[in-house]
Subunit: 441 residues, 3 copies
């Protein structure tokens, strides 16, 4: 009562020229299974579960962005988020994965890496790999991360960005900028050597996306009707259940984002990271609820859900090294700051429909610095150097990309299309055909 | 090509003063890995997967409640459900986790426990722990359960409860009542000694929530327009896709709720529990479909999805000890009873918008009794004693809390707010901005 | 601080007459745990995770079908998809599981199998089982697959099929046709012996559903208003966010559909299958985006999401034996073909609201043939024989079932009901009570 496994196994060997670790298939070669073989299998299984969790974050991002924007731009937002996942994964396959972990950043070095890609990895699985998982698991886990950075930008420029040019931006940002700066820490580069600590990417993933978002909203400008005669007009999102689905899926996915960053199924480490991650999210909710109830008089659902995400971004850098108490404090602070920061960006006339700059940039920076504050092992100063270094490369790079696109193909839809909605303009489709809704809200 | 794991490991040790079991890190201390180490890692991995599944039930509850109520109260419902998760987890961190497993229920004993909380656990990981997982895994798994009880109440009092007072109720119910009665069985208390069996919480979780729900709807009264001149008026839910998403997520989550309650990855036990759980859910659908098609002439989607949940609640007490055939029967009966029970509550003018009392209380009791019926090892009488004991404490406790809140700060929104919707009243927000919908339905 | 496990264990033994492998409970009998015991536990854990992933595909199918159809038929679609899961699982319990793997297809042989069912398995767990998991895990994994075939048909005949007769069709198709043809390959039958390769079911699951879908739309005819005076009228879906949720959940679930089909947690194999699966999905998005942008001038979200699913169906047959590069090509081709195929079916006046015939039949066939193209081990000719054999049995069988139902109880709702919507007609319920939407779109 089973698929015929033996045959499959043999075929797999015939096809894979890559040097898979002997341990993995020891079971097949001989009946003797060692505890080390099994540990490798457990670790790899945990990493695959983490991959699924990070994958579902992409649906989470899509739902948060959809929920916080207007019904007339829904198809466009869903399309962008779907395309970004595909572009991110394929780009990472062709270029990014190999670029992220080299030391040779000369043109020749890059080209050497690019021409290979995962399709034909150099040397296949080598001893340089973490013993916790296979080459393929590593590739997929990292590839799922890569697309995230571009997705963060998507929300900030929503409701006015032109589809084609934006996808070009995503491709370049994920293919070049993300792996370049990522190599500084996770590639064992200069920042890692300096003692900079970013466990799962408050800076390496979230602030990278956040800097791109900030550059994007500066270049593209606010949505029509957002800032009128010096007044800030609220543009309400159209679907709070979708926003909530998105936020919960992101929370769920974060268990894999942080838990998988342990890079093995180590029981003590992983379960500890899950606890700090989860309590920071819960505290983010309480922090933002308190701030929102105090400042806005009525507790705002969008603020509270963004506060949850703020807590998650904040704990990401230090989930492995701060105490449980510190995790709660980090969550509370990031949740509270999120409410104030969203208002501050609006006051600066930086229109970010989903609060991506607040959640991913501001709280990404905060979380990175908190590692220095709450862990005796790390220096706030080194953490700050890291934060600034990322800003110094990512922000100008994103700015340059957006400006080039603006000057050449244009980055923003026409005024008519923006008013009518991007769904009809870019896709000739409606998200809620048959329903009556107002497009001028 | 990996995050630098070694460093992380070392830091973790430096920070954690808790006595982690030697086995967990044996891999680090010496290259020798034993099969027992790996088994611990597998068990812990399974428990972490169960945590994720139980977590996603909270989104499931939020969607079921949202789908079954009116559009004008959606933000409020999403807000409540988000806040409850945060409150539940943090309360459990501070108080509940330690309260659930003590023997000393004197005031001094409680205070001693409370002042510690998970933030500084007494003795850390001790031999008293189940060898299946770490302290942190246990905490998170139990914490995810705790919030459930409050969530169940949320649905029953929806569309008229005042936000602030309700959150106070949740905090007290989760912090004190849930762990107090939970300790009777899972804390090795008097009911456990009597031979009472409740595998994963038909009584300990679902009926505890159900008794709270019953107390809530008695104190708060029916929604305006529900019972007019002795007539029962149907108040239709506004979003059947969200209801369906919620029910499927709950079914999914139940695999972790019940499967994780095995407390290890034991292949025979866990997979058996998954089968009984899954077939009871499927049978709940068939049972309620049959009842609904027969009684209401047309098969009702809300009845069928509640029937699915009814089957799941019903199997929860005995998923480990009843036969597969019995699991199907339990599902069929609970599914059928759910249809009749929802109608009966309405006839008693007890207005429960989501049927929480039916699904969680009635079927929680049924499932607990069925353990005695379908398993020769257990006595129906002992099961009944357990059911009554929980009712005797939870119902009056919840009633008292609700009455105190009603007499002091008030538990119900104003008539104007209820008619206009709690979204505008409590939050100043709309769930579906731009859409046209009727608030007087 | 744990549920009392010892007692549970003992009870389980008392109840289960089935011969569970000694290894599973070795931990209990004696403290000595072997690496082989643990490997069994890991493999079983992975398979249980796969079960959860395949389960959630049912929600994915429900959301895709809901999103792509009109608001007035939503309750009916949700109802069908919920009922199918229950019927599929229970039917598989009673009949299908045992039918799928026998050799004796005589009437007596079938009856012998049917009378037993999983409720009392012959011999329980035997050595014939794959060492990767328990009897129960196998049953649940296969049971989750079975319901899929019927679900595929559901989408094709949506918005006009009568509920009762359709559920009868599903029951018979899942109970008899699916396991009969499934036994040819996964039951070690004649096609397996011929060297036909279908890793996870491009043919065995998807084309089986696809042939049923094709038969269904031929017998039931197009929706009113779809083909008017030789013109093809687009009937737009009503909810693009739900469609997107569905497509992402299907993608997620496919990790278990394909990854679980390895039938163990083998690190190299499973992670490789995840990579080919994931990249084929990504490439399906790019392939369909390119085709849609080229042919339709504007990129269509429904095409792109169906392209993603097309890539997934396409890779399913060979996820274990094709190279990563081939996986990308398969995805690109299937994604592109999906766009053209949807248009072609419309030109043939075969009205399939969700494109099930395109995604599951056309791409299921393509994927099966691609195994022969991209893997030197397999012959295109043998693959073609398999494809034709499945068509030769499934299509006539489905056609016969649908025709018998049409001639007896009728298979299509009345014209009035179709225009008014099946929600009111079949269920007396609205999906979006209180919202204004047009039913004549």
């Amino acid at each position: 009562m089973h698929h015929s496994r033996k045959k499959i196994q043999t075929l797999f060997f015939a096809l894979c020229a890559f040097a898979l670790p002997a341990a993995v298939f020891a079971e097949e070669a001989a009946p003797e299974i060692t505890a080390a073989d099994v540990m490798f299998t457990v670790n790899n299984t945990w990493m695959m579960v983490s991959i699924f969790l990070v994958f579902i974050m992409h649906l989470g991002f899509a739902m948060v962005e959809t929920g916080l924007t207007r019904a007339k731009n829904t198809v466009n937002i869903l399309f962008k988020n779907t395309a970004i996942v595909a572009i991110g994964l394929l780009t990472y396959t062709l270029i990014g994965f190999n670029l992220m972990y080299p030391t040779d950043w000369s043109v020749a070095g890059i080209i050497a890496k690019v021409t290979f890609g995962v399709i034909c990895p150099e040397g296949g699985l080598t001893a340089a790999y973490n013993p916790g998982y296979t080459y393929w698991t590593d590739f997929l886990f990292q590839g799922m991360f890569a697309a995230t950075a571009a997705t963060i930008v998507s929300g900030a420029v929503a409701e006015r960005v032109k589809l084609g040019p934006f996808l070009v931006f995503c491709t370049l940002y994920v293919a070049l900028v993300y792996p370049f700066v990522g190599s500084w820490v996770w590639g064992g580069g200069w920042l890692a050597e300096k003692g900079f600590h970013d466990f799962a990417g408050s800076t390496l993933v979230h602030s990278v996306g956040g800097w791109g978002a900030l550059a994007g909203i500066i270049v593209i400008g606010p949505r029509i009707g957002k800032y009128v005669n010096g007044q800030i007009k609220g543009i309400m999102g159209h679907n709070m259940p979708l926003l909530t689905i998105g936020a919960f899926l992101l929370w769920l996915g974060w268990f894999g984002f942080n838990g998988g960053s342990v890079l093995s199924a180590d029981p003590g480490m992983v379960s500890y990271v899950l606890v700090t991650t989860c309590l920071a999210a819960a505290a983010g909710i309480i922090g933002s609820m308190t701030a929102s109830w105090t400042i806005q008089k009525k507790p705002d659902l969008t603020m509270v859900l963004n506060g949850c995400l703020a807590g998650l971004v904040g704990i990401t850098a230090g989930a492995d090294v701060v105490s449980v108490k510190a995790a709660v404090i980090i969550g509370l602070v990031c949740g509270g700051v999120a409410v104030v920061s969203v208002m501050a960006f609006d006051r600066m006339k930086l229109d970010d429909p989903v609060g991506a700059t607040t959640v991913h940039l501001v709280c990404g920076i905060l979380g990175t610095l908190f590692v220095g504050v709450f862990s005796a092992e790390f220096s706030v100063m080194t953490q700050l150097i890291g934060v600034l270094a990322y800003g110094a490369v990512c922000f100008p790079a994103a700015l340059l990309l957006f400006i080039i696109l603006k000057k050449t193909v244009g980055i923003r839809v026409s005024k008519e299309e923006e008013l009518k909605g991007l769904d009809l303009g870019e896709h000739g489709q409606e998200a809620y055909h048959g329903f009556q809704f107002f497009t001028n809200v």
